[in-house]
């Protein structure tokens, strides 16, 4: 969960591992303050999300990947294809930091907008509208990539 959030957000295994290790080290220090397994889970998601976004802003590791940087798919690309998923991950990485983290938390961690709002410390309305906008953006890009409507 922790490593995976950082990995999907930063797309860099080495940095993701480093950040995940830091977070667990911090957990070691903070554990007495945490009250239940649910609290630990919430805390881990919150800290790794913020750490990843801080790292992205600080080190500017996020590369702007425009649609033009994603290879055009050959005609054999079908839904569920590993290549399409790779393209999709690249498209997600082109989103702004906060929207990208919301997408990761929503679709990797399967968190509800309210949980995402609590984790990132922003209003739930903002989460909902950003998620909606990101999906519209991604859908448009997928349509251009696949040459067919993505429902």
């Amino acid at each position: 969960m922790v490593f995976s959030i950082a990995l999907r957000f930063l797309r860099d295994r080495a940095v993701a591992e480093e950040l995940a290790q830091d977070v667990f080290l911090k957990l070691y220090r903070e554990l007495p303050k945490l009250e239940s397994p649910e609290h630990v889970k919430f805390w881990l998601r919150k800290v790794i999300s913020h750490r990843s976004m801080d790292y992205s802003r600080g080190a500017r590791v996020r590369r702007e990947v425009g649609l033009d940087d994603v290879a055009e798919p050959a005609s054999h690309w079908k839904s569920g294809d590993v290549l399409l998923q790779d393209a999709l991950r690249k498209l997600v990485s082109s989103l702004p930091d906060d929207a990208r983290m919301m997408i990761v938390l929503r679709y990797q961690e399967e968190m509800e907008p309210q949980e995402i709002a609590n984790t990132l410390g922003i209003p739930v309305g903002t989460v909902k509208s950003r998620l909606r906008r990101s999906l519209v953006l991604l859908r448009g890009k997928v349509q251009r990539l696949m040459g067919e409507p993505a429902r």
Binding site: D68, D69, A71, E72, P73, A74, H76, L83
Partner: protein
Amino acid sequence: MKSTLIAFLLTIGMALTAHAQELKMPVDLDKLAAKASETTEVTLNAHMLQLAAKFMNDDEGDREARELVKKLKGIYVRSFEFDEPGAYSPSDVEGLRMQLKPPMWEKVVGVRSRRDGENAEVYFKSDSSDVIQGLVVIAADPRELTIVHIDGPLDPSDLEKLGGDFGVPRLQAPARPKAKPSAAGAQ
């Protein structure tokens, strides 16, 4: 001190040997994807091949493919199609060619056609047992570049069955062809 030095040199030596045995796709190839109008990339390691083999059933086509991929260590394909001719240069694949050297690799076929600018090379990797341990195909024409690397033991008859007619065993070199093909023994 002396033993530490020996251990160090041994480690370096082993690392270099291990490196020499691996075939690396040149980094430049990834840049070609940006220029290409269509890109096909297949990267399947032994784990993925085993996984794929599990889902191949007993239909004839699947069964033959399964028997082949079960033995393999990897399949790697990079194929680029370009809108305009000359979008890539021969040096883009030079890094790969440099690795395909004897005694490990042998160029069994080289075809060069000046008329249509099509080039194709086939390399086999062999070991002391004379079993083909790998295959590389580099096929290039002005608008398309395809590189295939199949890593692992290959039985030519498997290939022939699988592809309908791979024709590998019958690729014999003509002595002095007009279209400048060269093949085993004629390199």
